[in-house]
Symmetry: D3
Subunit: 252 residues, 6 copies
Amino acid sequence: MRETGREVNELRPIHIETDFTKHAEGSVLITVGETKVICNASIEDRVPPFLRGSGKGWITAEYAMLPRATETRNIRESSKGKVSGRTMEIQRLIGRSLRAVVDLDVIGERTIWIDCDVIQADGGTRTASITGAFVAAALALGKLHREKRIKKFPVKDYLAAISVGVLPNGTAVLDLEYTEDSIAHVDMNVVMTGNGEFVELQGTGEEATFSGNQLMEMLVLAEEGIREIFSIQKLAIAEYDKYITEKNEEHE
Amino acid sequence: MRETGREVNELRPIHIETDFTKHAEGSVLITVGETKVICNASIEDRVPPFLRGSGKGWITAEYAMLPRATETRNIRESSKGKVSGRTMEIQRLIGRSLRAVVDLDVIGERTIWIDCDVIQADGGTRTASITGAFVAAALALGKLHREKRIKKFPVKDYLAAISVGVLPNGTAVLDLEYTEDSIAHVDMNVVMTGNGEFVELQGTGEEATFSGNQLMEMLVLAEEGIREIFSIQKLAIAEYDKYITEKNEEHE
Amino acid sequence: MRETGREVNELRPIHIETDFTKHAEGSVLITVGETKVICNASIEDRVPPFLRGSGKGWITAEYAMLPRATETRNIRESSKGKVSGRTMEIQRLIGRSLRAVVDLDVIGERTIWIDCDVIQADGGTRTASITGAFVAAALALGKLHREKRIKKFPVKDYLAAISVGVLPNGTAVLDLEYTEDSIAHVDMNVVMTGNGEFVELQGTGEEATFSGNQLMEMLVLAEEGIREIFSIQKLAIAEYDKYITEKNEEHE
Amino acid sequence: MRETGREVNELRPIHIETDFTKHAEGSVLITVGETKVICNASIEDRVPPFLRGSGKGWITAEYAMLPRATETRNIRESSKGKVSGRTMEIQRLIGRSLRAVVDLDVIGERTIWIDCDVIQADGGTRTASITGAFVAAALALGKLHREKRIKKFPVKDYLAAISVGVLPNGTAVLDLEYTEDSIAHVDMNVVMTGNGEFVELQGTGEEATFSGNQLMEMLVLAEEGIREIFSIQKLAIAEYDKYITEKNEEHE
Amino acid sequence: MRETGREVNELRPIHIETDFTKHAEGSVLITVGETKVICNASIEDRVPPFLRGSGKGWITAEYAMLPRATETRNIRESSKGKVSGRTMEIQRLIGRSLRAVVDLDVIGERTIWIDCDVIQADGGTRTASITGAFVAAALALGKLHREKRIKKFPVKDYLAAISVGVLPNGTAVLDLEYTEDSIAHVDMNVVMTGNGEFVELQGTGEEATFSGNQLMEMLVLAEEGIREIFSIQKLAIAEYDKYITEKNEEHE
Amino acid sequence: MRETGREVNELRPIHIETDFTKHAEGSVLITVGETKVICNASIEDRVPPFLRGSGKGWITAEYAMLPRATETRNIRESSKGKVSGRTMEIQRLIGRSLRAVVDLDVIGERTIWIDCDVIQADGGTRTASITGAFVAAALALGKLHREKRIKKFPVKDYLAAISVGVLPNGTAVLDLEYTEDSIAHVDMNVVMTGNGEFVELQGTGEEATFSGNQLMEMLVLAEEGIREIFSIQKLAIAEYDKYITEKNEEHE
């Protein structure tokens, strides 16, 4: 058992509220323990220059925290006039991850903008963002599909993310909250698809190192945790589950 | 009656949820019709350079919208690398307004940061921000007072804001929502204190003009509306109402 | 009588020198007491993107101070790499005000750029800028009209601005100079048209408040002052006065 | 065999030239195939604010490419006025990696600046940068040690990095050059220490996914490749090898 | 004779109006033909970091043009958010030139800020700026001296600048106005001191070249022109001429 | 003899290595004593807006130093987010100089980008950059010519640059290295063409002054030095020498 009272393989409670704001084509408030992120998906009918004329779509993400999402107030990035390296890393990660499970040819020359805004942070904001962004994107793409603006539902598989880490006592644990994250010797973010493949794997020995065995232990925890998250996502987008399941069966 | 179904002097439903996020010293979600703003008040134990050594405190505000708070997505100001003129105007307005009702000498050398983040916009975001920011600031200052870090509760009076305007048909109306705001010939924001004094008055003939009579009509509507809002604020900070009332009685 | 020796309803001497620089289509040096602003109007034969193809014109303004326009030197905004919130507020105010009295359909797809550069500041730079900008714009538009590039003179009415305020002793006064402005409890800028309508009204209880009665008192002073200014503007653009007067008569 | 003529587990030729420029405390030109990076380590006798007074040192890295390091010219980041997300990711990765093998307490309140400037790019610039930066840092720290400004040689272990990936035909390969990198379905960067532990693991299914088996295959290749690189690093800093080896023996 | 009606060695009329604005310690409006520049000198009682504790003063300059100083409107550098290369070159040139004739030890730890703001441009703005800046600086330093804040008048010699050039027909001419400047094959700015020494010499074959003979011809014209300018400067600062003359006599 | 052991008219050893990097159309490493600059010329098939449709080409240059090219580390300009005035001056100088000897009509609507990146600095980086940039540009243009993308070799003449200066003892010297440059009273950069004409002449009495005689002395040294450099350039681009020589003969 951890100091937080959770088992090593125990996720924090996860809740996904859909249609959280009214303007976005897909809007989600995802809650993972005390971490809360608004994930909005917007559809724009054009693509970045490098895709113009290609017939393909694009998915891009932006991530931010409210200044007081954290224990002490952070300076707003718009006031600083520049986006931090951490923010850029996270934005790129979210965008890349979603592009791995969406058929960009089906979308046509449209951009799906994913905005992940953390309103309360307690560790795991980037993985919560990916998990929530997947649902928001699915809702927005479902809307496009319902309105017959695209021919088929373009989401190929489920996508979720979780963090795993190694505590100072050497224990590998699932879903680190802030108190754990700030002392962990290793911090790894795992992004997986419904069929159990990796999309991204980012492990950092936070100025420390980790062995091959510890890596294996963490990957087992991550996969187990992500499987649980998929069942929560399925409920949130129950309406579109059949399309995703079909695709996976075709794959087999 | 207006197209929106409201009377000319009818506010939209207003709801103030306190303790909305957990880290901020004062945290409020204010809902005015479909407009939703998170107002967080943070306390920092230092002041800007021009006040160092003065023994006085400061209140400053920042305002932003989530990119998809609006009907079409706005570019994030952190991505553009600069804050728009509109944002600056609003930030300055919120800060100035709050400073009019807080005794900065009592606060001591501390800064109260007010963060107003619009998560859904439907007109009146700047006035909703001021109304919510007042409550968030009161909660944060109440916490300081409870913890005996300041000698008395420094809020001198209630503070709220509302918009009034003149529709194309010449009718003056209270609390414009987006569909009205976008066509109004005049748009006026009024900030008042509990004792009925003005703090700010900003009226704009949106590339049109307005007469003295129309001005009077609007001011009457605004005062009436703001009085209603005070009663909602009173409930939200019932705990501190006695301190504010006392002060007003002293004044008389 | 005020400390400055002026009556409460007494303007500082105002002088408008036309054709101050040679390149601008309209160029004015306006002097209000010790405040001096160069107002240049330039005509550009295109409009911002949101107006392209609309057949309508646009008026936009920029405002700046020479670094040593003030008692102590200010850092140049180009050196800081960003424009302050105060500057943005003023620029937006000047642009909006002028657009209220110019028929943008008549201008066609042209932009009138108004540059207000304060070379010496002693209070009231934003209202002096509006008053001078009106004259510069009228001169530039008159030139367009004389050259038969537009069908009629597009200025619908006179436009001027003045500040009013409440001194610490409670007296409402007209046209605050710097020594008054820096101590005033209320500072209000009023922009009016020749026919006595308001275009903008921005009153700020500089961290103080003001009553309805004080508001009325200030508005009376402002209107009286602005009427005097109109007579000075009339002389500066005597050549075009007939067109403006005609329009006002049509209105009646 | 790959299209490039190399075996799947074959590194490109690696060459490390020390003392490449004369001013830096540690200066290296690392060549990996056609990829060439100048790695300079500079010592500054102060630390960032968050470490002042802590007695601890810091290591930070900056990464850039000459505009024409690549096949087509890139816009210089100084001209754009901002650093790209990719650059920030790489800088953060290099810094974090080095901090994992250097005893920051021994350095004292000094910052080691690592500048990695790519003068010719052909894939693998970030891993070449880490491998070269380790040598540059060791040289700079060796200089500090020789000059008796620090009590012991603070490098705890060797550190090197390599990329592995999965080609479109499903083959896992070591050390991707540009032609392979641009088509690979998976791209993974592995940073390891001399004793075989991971420091960083960043695997990306470039808009694709990868299985657990493919992950294992890649990790085996990476470890093998990194071991070869250690032997090249050992020659480059032969002078300091005894200190590093001692430390590893102590560990056992 | 040139197209402009001037002789090859004929300056445009030069006028120097002192005390042009009221706040600056030294304020000058210099008019050279149709070119008009406001030169303000401000005294700040501190120096840049590299001089703190040195007992020495500093002189630095900033240069800007009003947007409509030129025939077509230029975008304001504060709006662009950055200062152009041309502006930086000129600012550096003005500062360096003045530092050559002022005894920085006498000033003590003060900075003289020179602001040159071009309100109307017709060629030769940088040389007019230097000539005017010298007078503004002398006035500001004279004020310091009169107020006994410095022990002696620190200006060691007169300083003025002029442009010379070669027209397409091969003629070398003095003091190019805009119509000449825009077609000249060579453009040279010469900065000299009262005793006939060079401070700066910047000659540019505007995408052309020039011979040694042409150089000599231009230098002769420049020296002659600058001598005339000195006599105008002498009148403008007649009050301080004795101090400067004394110094030159000491030199001999 | 100077402290550096060189004669007053003695250049440091100059070496020009061509084809230094593989991607650029023209790539040179120029070494002047301990100063080393990579000069890459890239060809882009379009021109800046002001030349579109003109049929003419353009040459532009960028200059940067590696942070540790100098004795103490400089902050990277991309990190600062802006380019210094010094950098801009140098970039403009390099571009202007090259444009003086290249026939831009022959190039057609192409831009030649010159990137000068100083990897080790010991004085004279701007003149070394010009000398190296000429060779890089010639190589790139030679490639265009060989590939028959342009009709004739567009380089009209050789171009090289050198610094001259006056040491504190009054001696004029050629090619100042850093120890001399930092104490020199005068610093002059001379850019000349193969036929002995000046392209640029920039002399600065570094807060000092210089006489006409000293100017003459420096120009003689500069011309002598540049003639030597031409012979080194000739060897580096021997292949294209005949085209340049032909042109000069035509001129005669």
